[in-house]
C-alpha cells in the first residue's frame, strides 16, 4: 500500500469517527451510567469505568415497575401495528407504484407529518367513548399512523424499480392481477418488505407520545414506563440508564442482525441481470 493510500484510509477513518462520535459517546456514557452507583454518577471529574459495578441497576429494573408487563405491552403493540402496517402498506405501495399515484403518496406523507397531538386528543375522546382505553387497541390503532406510511413509502420505491416486463411476462404466462402481485411482484420485493418491517418495528417501538396520552397504568409501553421512572425530587441515573438500555436492546439486536439483509436489499434492486 502506498503512503497516499494509507493517508486516505486514515482520513476516512477519522471522518467516520467524527461523524459517529456524538452518537457513540452518548451510547458509551449511557452504558457507563448504567453500571455505576449514584455516588460515581454524580462524581466530578466524571468517572467512565467505576471501581465497583452496580449490576443491581439492571436486576432492579426487572424486579420493579411491572417491567415484564410493559415489555409484553410493547411487543403486542409494535407487533400488531407492524403486522397490520405490512398487510395494508405492501399492497397499497404496489398500487401507488403501478398506478403512478404520486398524489396519494404525498397525502400519506402529510398524514405522517401531522403533529401527533393534533389528532391524539380527539382520538382519546373517541376511544374513551368506545370504552377501549383499558385495552391495547387504541395504541395499536394509533401506531398504524407510524407504520403504514413507512411501509408504503419504502415499498413504493421497491415496486417502482421492479421492471414492468416481469409483470407483463407473468400476464402473458396466464397470471391474473392477484397472482402477479403474490407470485411475482411480492417475492421480488422481499428485501423491501424486510427493510420496511425493521424500520416499522424501530419507529413503533420507540414511539413515546402516543403512549403518554393513550396508555393507562396497565397498558403502558416501555418508553412510557421509563418516563414514569423520572420523578421530580430526584433522578436516579443508574437505574434509568439501565432501563433505557434494556428498552433499546431488542431494536439494537434486530438492526444488527438485519443489517446484511438491509444492505443486500438495497443493492438487489437491479433485476436486469437476474
Amino acid at each position: 500500500m502506498s503512503l497516499a493510500k494509507i493517508f486516505r484510509k486514515l482520513g476516512l477513518v477519522f471522518a467516520v469517527f467524527l461523524i459517529v462520535s456524538p452518537a457513540l459517546l452518548f451510547f458509551i456514557w449511557m452504558v457507563s451510567l448504567s453500571v455505576k452507583f449514584e455516588i460515581d454518577n454524580g462524581a466530578y471529574p466524571p468517572i467512565l469505568i467505576p471501581e465497583h459495578f452496580a449490576w443491581k441497576n439492571y436486576t432492579s429494573v426487572f424486579e420493579s415497575n411491572n417491567f415484564l408487563l410493559y415489555f409484553k405491552n410493547s411487543i403486542i403493540v409494535t407487533g400488531a401495528a407492524t403486522l397490520f402496517g405490512l398487510i395494508v402498506g405492501v399492497p397499497a405501495g404496489y398500487g401507488i407504484a403501478r398506478m403512478n399515484a404520486q398524489k396519494s403518496a404525498i397525502i400519506i406523507m402529510i398524514a405522517r407529518m401531522t403533529p401527533g397531538l393534533s389528532f391524539l386528543i380527539p382520538l382519546f375522546l373517541i376511544f374513551k367513548g368506545l370504552d377501549m382505553l383499558g385495552t391495547l387497541w387504541p395504541q395499536i390503532i394509533i401506531h398504524l399512523v407510524v407504520t403504514v406510511p413507512i411501509v408504503i413509502w419504502i415499498m413504493i420505491g421497491y415496486f417502482e424499480t421492479t421492471p414492468i416486463e416481469l409483470e407483463e411476462a407473468a400476464m402473458i404466462d396466464g397470471a391474473n392481477r392477484w397472482q402477479i402481485f403474490m407470485k411475482v411482484a411480492m417475492p421480488i420485493a422481499k428485501p423491501g418488505i424486510v427493510v420496511s418491517f425493521i424500520l416499522s418495528v424501530i419507529f413503533s417501538w420507540n414511539n413515546f407520545v402516543f403512549g403518554v396520552v393513550l396508555a393507562s397504568r396497565e397498558t403502558r409501553t416501555l418508553p412510557v414506563a421509563i418516563y414514569n421512572m423520572l420523578s421530580f425530587e430526584q433522578v436516579s441515573w443508574g437505574p434509568l440508564a439501565a432501563a433505557a438500555l434494556i428498552v433499546t436492546l431488542p431494536v439494537l439486536i434486530l438492526t444488527v442482525a438485519a443489517q446484511r439483509q438491509i444492505v443486500a436489499g438495497l443493492t438487489a434492486g437491479a433485476v436486469k441481470g437476474g
Binding site: P163, E165, L166, E168, A169, A170, M171, I172, D173, G174, A175, N176, Q179, K183, V184, P187, I188, K190, V271, K272, G273, G274
Partner: protein
Amino acid sequence: MAAVQIADVRKTFGTTHVIRGVDVDIEDGEFVILVGPSGCGKSTLLRMIAGLESITSGEIRIGNRVVNDVPPKDRDIAMVFQNYALYPHMNVADNMAFSLKLKNAPKSEIETRINRAATILGLTELLDRYPRQLSGGQRQRVAMGRAIVRDPQVFLFDEPLSNLDAKLRVSMRAEIKDLHQRLKTTTVYVTHDQIEAMTMAEKIVVMHDGIVEQIGAPLELYDHPANLFVACFIGSPSMNVLKGRVELGEFITAGGVRLPLEKTPPSALGKPAVYGVRPEHLKLSADGVPGKVLVIEPTGSETQVVVEVDGQPITCLLRERVAIQRGDTISVRADPALVHLFDAETGKRLTD
C-alpha cells in the same frame, strides 16, 4: 398454431400517433419479421398483438378470433422480451413451469414439457440455476424455453438478440431459425437490424413512422424495393442514391453526369427522380463514370471502394482485388439492368 391478421390497426398515446393504419397478414406457421428504425412503432405493434397495449382502432385476429378485447392470458401467445424478463426469484425449471402451474397442469406433464424444452435448447444442466447465475446467451435460451413449453398459437419476439455480443447473436440467429423449422409455430419477430431480418425471415414487414413501407420475402425487398426508404434501409452497405432527372435512355444527375438506363419508364420522363444502385452492382470499367477514390477497404473476400461521383460518395463492392490507392481516379459503371429509379417527391419506385 394460428394465422394472425392485423387490419387497419392504429395506436395513439395521447395525441401522438404511433401506429397509423397498419395491415399485415401472417399465415399459419409463418416466420415474419417486423423491421424498421428505432421508434417506428414495432414494439408497440407487437405489444398490441400480445395484448399488453390496447388497440386504438382497427382489428387484430389470432386464428380467426378477434382479440381486441381479449386479455393477454387468454390469447394463447408467448413472448420473449428484449431483456428476457426472467423471474429472478425462480430457478430455470420454475421459470419455465410458471405458466403451466398457473394452468394447473398435472405435475407429470409439466415435467415432460420442461424436459423436452430443456433438451431442445440445451438447458438440461442448468435447470436448478437462478437467472443471475446464467450468461446472457443462456438467459436468452431460458426465455425461449419459457415460451416453447407453453406450445402457444403464436411466438412473439421483441429484439431478443440485441443484448448479446455479435458472435453469439449470429449463432442464436441460426438457432431460432432452426427452432422455427422444428416447431412450425407462427412467429412474429421484431428487430431493428436489417441483417437479422434478411437472414431469418420468411416474410419481412418494413415499418417506418408508424406505417408499413413494404411487405415481402427478403430477396424480393432487396431486388424490388417499393420505395426509397426500403431501398436504403435494406442492404449493407446501403444503396447508393443520386438525385437528378430522367431523360430518354439515360439519367442525368444534378451535376450533369449521364448514366445509361436500360428502360425509360414513360411516366418518369423529364421528371426529377432518384437513381439508386447497390454497391455490388458497380464494376470497374473504362467506359464508366470517372471518380476519385476516397476510401478503400479490403476485407479479403471483397473490396469496398468509395469514389466521389458528382460530389457524392458512392460505395462500390468489388469481388476482385484491385491495385488502386486513395486519391487515384477510377471509372465505375453500373449494370443498367440492375438500376432502381424512384420518384424524387414521393419516393415511390418508378422502375418495375
